[in-house]
């Protein structure tokens, strides 16, 4: 009992000393590592100025923006912009289009690089393999502006090669880029053309890390190459596929809007207009900053939640899924 009391009485002293010790340790570390902090400084300032300062502008989503009062002086309007967004057919259409385009591209574009990786892996000749890889990776490095230019040239109603071929086979010429029913196919198709090859790299890397002993023993058992591909290679990269699919699902709201705004036009808005192109038109083209910011906030919050869920899931997969 007396001992305990004595301990309690003496406790403040060590605590203060520990605090002082920690403080001294901190000062000592800061002094020792001042160069490291100096190296970080420009980047931290950059992040604050260009990525964190704009976050103050998010309040616009809840304000009636007036140019002469500025962001801070504009009056609050609560959730009015969100209400009008969800009453606007255009915005609801944009949400729908975003999900449809993303959905189709996951369904159609996601499997292509996997297939490509499996096929490239089966090539025996190193030279042929290199050549194929060099060619299919190339479109990734071509800018979206040029891709859009190529698409326009290809599909031109008067001189495009597609229409020339259609005409040879006795079909009518189609002005594809003005037809809403064609927009998604054009967007997803050219997207596959641009990225499928490059996206196969990740899967090829996964294939490369498969233990060769698996193939050797399968060969001893008399497995055919087809069997080895479907029973060894494919199952071994399933964890990679699962992780990438989950990440892709988490980014379902991200569609290549920089590419869409090059290809779409008013006549195709009904199938082509997505959330980000809607924000671009309302905000940057129409100067409706408050409404567009509200749409952006909605988009960013939903996207953040989806990405966090996806991260959780993919972590679970990598923990339990690999071998």
């Amino acid at each position: 009992m007396e001992e305990k009391l004595a301990n309690m009485a003496s406790e403040p002293a060590p605590f203060v000393m520990r605090l002082r010790g920690a403080w001294r340790g901190l000062v000592k570390d800061l002094r020792r590592d001042y160069l490291l902090y100096l190296m970080l400084l420009p980047t931290l300032v950059w992040f604050i100025v260009f990525l964190y300062m704009p976050m103050g502008g998010l309040q616009l989503a809840f304000k009636q923006y007036s140019a002469w009062k500025g962001i801070d002086g504009s009056p609050w309007v609560g959730f009015a912009h969100f209400v009008s967004l969800f009453q606007s057919d255009q915005f609801l259409r944009a949400i729908g289009n975003t999900l449809i385009i993303s959905g189709y591209s996951i369904l159609l574009a996601f499997p292509v690089p996997i297939l490509l990786a499996l096929m490239i892996n089966e090539v025996q000749s190193q030279g042929y393999r290199k050549a194929v890889q060099t060619i299919v990776y190339l479109p990734h490095f071509i800018s979206v502006v040029i891709v859009a230019g190529i698409v326009v040239a290809f599909l031109s109603p008067t001189t495009g090669v597609i229409n020339n071929v259609l005409e040879i086979f006795g079909f009518d010429r189609v002005y594809f880029l003005t037809r809403p029913e064609w927009f998604r196919s054009i967007f997803i198709g050219s997207g596959i053309w641009k990225e499928a090859g490059f996206d196969s790299i990740v899967f090829l890397a996964a294939i490369m890390s498969i233990n060769p002993a698996l193939y050797e023993s399968a060969q001893v058992d008399g497995a055919s190459r087809w069997q080895m591909m479907t029973r060894i290679t494919l199952p071994c990269i399933v964890p990679t596929i699962a992780v990438l699919l989950v990440i892709r699902l988490g980014r379902v709201l991200e569609v290549g809007f920089e590419y869409i705004i090059l290809l779409y036009q008013p006549s195709t808005f009904q199938t082509a207009d997505v959330i980000s192109t809607y924000i671009y038109r309302q905000g940057l083209q129409g100067a409706r900053y408050d409404l567009a910011t509200a749409a952006g906030v909605f988009n960013a919050v939903v996207a953040l939640v989806l990405v966090l869920i996806a991260n959780r899931l993919s972590r679970r997969i990598t923990r339990t899924g690999v071998f």
């Binding site: 901190l26 570390d29 160069l35 190296m39 970080l40 420009p42 980047t43 931290l44 950059w46 260009f50 990525l51 704009p54 976050m55 502008g57 616009l60 490509l116 096929m119 089966e122 090539v123 025996q124 042929y128 890889q133 299919v136 990776y137 190339l138 071509i142 800018s143 502006v145 040029i146 859009a148 230019g149 190529i150 326009v152 040239a153 008067t158 001189t159 090669v161 020339n164 005409e167 053309w193 790299i201 990740v202 060769p212 050797e216 060969q219 055919s224 190459r225 087809w226 920089e258 090059l262 924000i279 671009y280 905000g283 940057l284 567009a292 910011t293 952006g296 988009n299 960013a300 953040l304």
Partner: protein, 293 residues
């Protein structure tokens, strides 16, 4: 892949079908580029008549001379070089030192600062607040605004940091014995050891600068500042749809299509020139980025 290729008949058929299908994929990948190249070198009349499918018809370079006459083409080409060179240098200036600092486990607040940077990969204010911020900073229609405002991003810093972390501590300890400080260690030890990662980040920056158009289009007001991609967009998307331009070229041996083709080819050539190097490092880069986080 296999140590002893011991193939049955069906295996050989499988291999051949596979090779043929891959050839089809490769042709599909390269054909659009060849088509545009051929269009750019054909006569406008042959293109308009729909006679170009694979190779140039009536070889004709007038579209190129027409493009070379355009002063704006050269201005935008020079601007792209400006943005690419200075933008990449700025990126490396931000990325390398901060990635080095973050790779040091002894750094106080390392986790907090790391989170501060990585958080922007998951959440950003978005297009409009970003634009208004740039506008408040007075960087609208500013060349240096374009260079600085897009110089940094979390992904590249993390990629670089991961690589620095994989370098053995013993190098640093040895340098410290010789009395080197962090700046000297970074410059004399880490940078020489990190050439593959630096090359990857450099190429990521160069390609992003060379190909990017959106913010240049939004932020730059004067034509004499626009990069090549914005010029291309004007020519391809806008000119192609305007009737007057096609009327103006009627009297020449080029057409709208051959001019657009020539511009596209001129802008792809630098990409093709560096592509072999790029390809080597990009395949590595994809792996580096995937190592952690």
């Amino acid at each position: 892949m296999l140590a002893t290729p011991f193939f049955t008949r069906s295996d050989r058929i499988f291999g051949r079908v596979n090779a043929i299908l891959l050839a089809v994929f490769a042709i599909l990948a390269i054909y659009p580029v060849i088509y545009v190249l051929s269009v750019s070198m054909s006569s406008g009349e042959a293109v308009t008549a729909g006679r170009v499918f694979l190779l140039p018809v009536n070889l004709d370079f007038s579209a190129y001379s027409r493009v070379f006459e355009d002063k704006l083409f050269w201005t935008s080409y020079a601007n792209t070089f400006f943005y690419t060179v200075f933008g990449t240098v700025a990126s490396l200036f931000f990325i390398i030192p901060s990635a080095y600092a973050l790779s040091k486990h002894r750094l106080r607040g390392r986790r907090l600062i790391g989170f501060f940077i990585a958080f922007t990969m998951w959440f950003q204010a978005g297009m409009i607040p970003f634009y208004l911020n740039i506008s408040n900073l007075g960087l609208i229609d500013s060349r240096w605004g374009i260079v600085i405002a897009f110089a940094c991003n979390a992904f590249n810093i993390i990629l670089m940091r991961n690589y620095f972390e994989s370098i053995s501590q013993s190098f640093e300890e040895a340098a410290r014995m010789d009395g080197a400080n962090d700046l000297q260690i970074l410059w004399k030890v880490y940078i020489p050891l990190s050439k593959p990662a630096i090359a990857t980040v450099t190429l990521l920056c160069v390609i992003a600068r060379w190909n990017g158009y959106f913010w240049s289009m939004v932020l730059l007001r004067h034509e004499d500042k626009i990069p090549l991609q914005v010029y291309l967009k004007k020519m391809i998307v806008e000119v192609n749809l305007s009737e007057e331009f096609s009327g103006a070229v009627m009297a020449h041996s080029y057409s709208v299509e051959t001019i657009v083709g020539a511009i596209i080819v001129m802008s792809i050539i630098p990409v093709l020139l560096v592509y072999p190097v790029v390809q080597k490092y990009f395949t590595k880069g994809v792996m580096l980025g995937g190592v952690k986080e």
